[in-house]
């Protein structure tokens, strides 16, 4: 077993494993005719950090983007199966994807600040959601929570693109927080960052998991081990017709996955025998 530092006991937290925010059952995702992910069942616990790992192309991002219906924006993309969000069917007919995304924020692989001032980046979400007044407070609060306030408070009107990569990513997290979401999804949030910035973001995630439910995709096993409570391991399998589909192989507490996985493929992957 790799010599990795596993989160868990050393950070005592109130883990409510049986209070699910998302309940996924039989989820398959299609791009046109291609079934990119097949038959996923998992639950995301409230105010936990759930990590999704697996080799490239196994469908981690695809599943993540179902949680806030970002896939709706891709022509031809379609989800089958069920995702319950607090008992409500996320793909139900009456559900407004825009409202879904307001509740379920997202942070992307490449920091994507808008080419506007830092202030306007944070204020954008509240504004488009019709929040009026006290904008300064909202901005300060979000930046503070994202551990960025001290670094930028003197240049809040500067263009966000002038920040460093790590700062930009924290800005994107602050931007997500500013609309007061319930869940934050992160798709490889550190893969474009240097080690120091990565450490800062990891610390921030820990911090945020007190108030928010977090789902993170990472290709860095060590990161999953360091920050998450639960880990889902995906891989891509070729079916009898020769088509590759992403599958969920194992989903368990992170400590179990990294010390005592129950599936051979999980073990091979985390020990570096493939991938």
């Amino acid at each position: 077993m790799p010599n990795v530092t596993v989160r868990g006991p050393e950070v005592p937290r109130n883990i409510e494993a049986l209070d699910p925010v998302f309940t996924v059952s039989g989820l398959s995702v299609f791009y046109g005719d291609y079934e990119a992910v097949r038959g996923v069942d998992m639950t995301i616990g409230n105010r936990e950090i759930t990590a999704m790992i697996g080799p490239s192309g196994c469908g981690k991002s695809t599943v993540l983007r179902c949680f806030n219906r970002m896939n709706d924006l891709i022509p031809g993309a379609r989800a089958a199966g069920k995702i319950l969000y607090h008992d409500e069917d996320l793909y139900g007919e009456h559900v407004d994807p825009i409202e879904v995304r307001r509740r379920i924020g997202m942070v992307f692989q490449k920091p994507n600040p808008f080419p506007k001032s830092i202030y306007d980046n944070i204020a954008y979400g509240p504004r488009v959601n019709g929040v009026k007044g006290r904008m300064d407070d909202i901005v300060e609060e979000a930046l503070t929570k994202a551990a960025l306030w001290d670094e930028v408070k003197d240049k809040i009107k500067q263009n966000a693109l002038s920040l460093s990569g790590g700062q930009q990513q924290r800005l994107c997290i602050a931007r997500a927080i500013a609309v007061k979401p319930d869940v934050i999804l992160m798709d490889e949030p550190c893969s474009a960052l240097d080690p120091i910035a990565t450490t800062k973001i990891e610390d921030l995630m820990q911090e945020l998991s007190r108030d928010y439910t977090i789902v993170i995709v990472t290709h860095n096993m060590q990161q999953a081990a360091r920050v998450s409570d639960r880990t889902a391991f995906f891989t891509a399998e070729v079916d009898h017709a020769g088509v590759r589909h992403g599958r969920l192989v194992e989903f368990d507490e992170t400590s179990r996955i990294f010390t005592n996985p129950s599936d051979k493929r999980t073990e091979d992957y985390i020990t570096g025998r493939f991938g």
Partner: protein, 296 residues
């Protein structure tokens, strides 16, 4: 914490009444596009309807006539236009493509002269065509003493479309991924080998598309010929590059300026022919583009 105040089980994901505004916006956008298209349709219907009585073989079999507008044709204009376009293709396309290769593959952007060439090309693309007419009149017809001939017209039009050819050829060349160049160079190919054997073959559909569109712009030009005094009543087809000539757009212009109603009909019919040629060229360009769109 706002979070805590959201009762988890009572979430409401239904929309908050935005769709109407969204819908109107979308409809407004589509309407704008539709206006442009409807306008084009109206124009085409109008000229076809106006020119209908004259849309027969006499139109391209006969020469223009001042005495018999009702049977006058546009043959000399069609041939003049073909000559001009043919020569323009011979002059502007190779020059433009070579220049595009230079700018994309060789030019070091940090050198002032290369930046000057680039800026100059984008400026030339915006120079009014009537100014090219002045260039043709002053430099080519008079100073170079090429007179008011096909040659003068073709050179003038070549210079006019050259920036367009260069810009579109550059785009096509740029669309060839850098990995193809790297792959070739890493095998010990020289730069020209890489360009000639990899980049050009891969970009030919794009270059052809751009070239056809550039030539179709050239076909419709009238203003420079106005300055070049391309004789308006030409009752013979050009026989060589030193021949007098007229072109279709200029003939149309001269028909518009005649008093008899028959000439207005003739103008409309000639416009239909011109538009048909253009539509044909556009279709070829679009077909090429769709057929050979990015393969990597």
């Amino acid at each position: 914490m706002a979070i805590l105040s959201t009762p988890r089980s009572a979430v409401q994901l239904a929309s908050r009444g935005r769709p109407l505004k969204e819908h109107l916006f979308r409809i407004a956008l589509l309407a704008s596009l539709a206006i442009a298209i409807v306008f084009l349709a109206m124009l085409i219907i109008y000229v076809v309807e106006e020119g209908w009585p004259r849309l027969d073989a006499t139109l391209w079999e006969n020469q223009p006539s001042i005495r018999r507008p009702e049977t006058a044709g546009i043959q000399s204009g069609i041939f003049g236009t073909l000559w001009i376009i043919g020569l323009t293709a011979l002059m502007a396309l190779p020059t433009g493509i070579l220049a595009a290769i230079y700018l994309e593959e060789y030019a070091d952007k940090s050198k002032w002269y290369n930046r000057l060439i680039e800026l100059n090309i984008s400026n030339l693309a915006a120079v009014p065509s009537i100014v090219y007419g002045i260039l043709g009149l002053g430099m080519i017809a008079r100073w170079m003493q090429f007179g008011f001939t096909i040659m003068t017209g073709a050179i003038t039009i070549s210079l006019l479309v050259l920036p367009i050819v260069i810009i579109s050829a550059r785009e096509a060349i740029r669309a060839v991924p850098a990995s193809i160049r790297e792959g070739s160079l890493a095998l010990g190919a020289t730069q020209w080998q890489t360009i000639y054997r990899q980049v050009l073959p891969a970009s030919i559909p794009g270059i052809a598309t751009g070239s056809i569109l550039a030539l179709s712009r050239a076909i419709g030009e009238a203003a420079p010929f106005l300055m070049l005094g391309a004789a308006t009543l030409v009752r013979f087809n050009p026989e060589g590059v030193w021949s007098s000539f007229s072109v279709l757009p200029l003939q149309i212009y001269s028909f518009i300026t005649r008093p008899q109603e028959e000439f207005a009909i003739l103008a409309a019919a000639a416009i239909v022919v011109l538009l048909a040629i253009l539509l044909l060229m556009n279709s070829v360009a679009i077909w090429l583009r769709n057929r050979y769109q990015k393969r990597w």
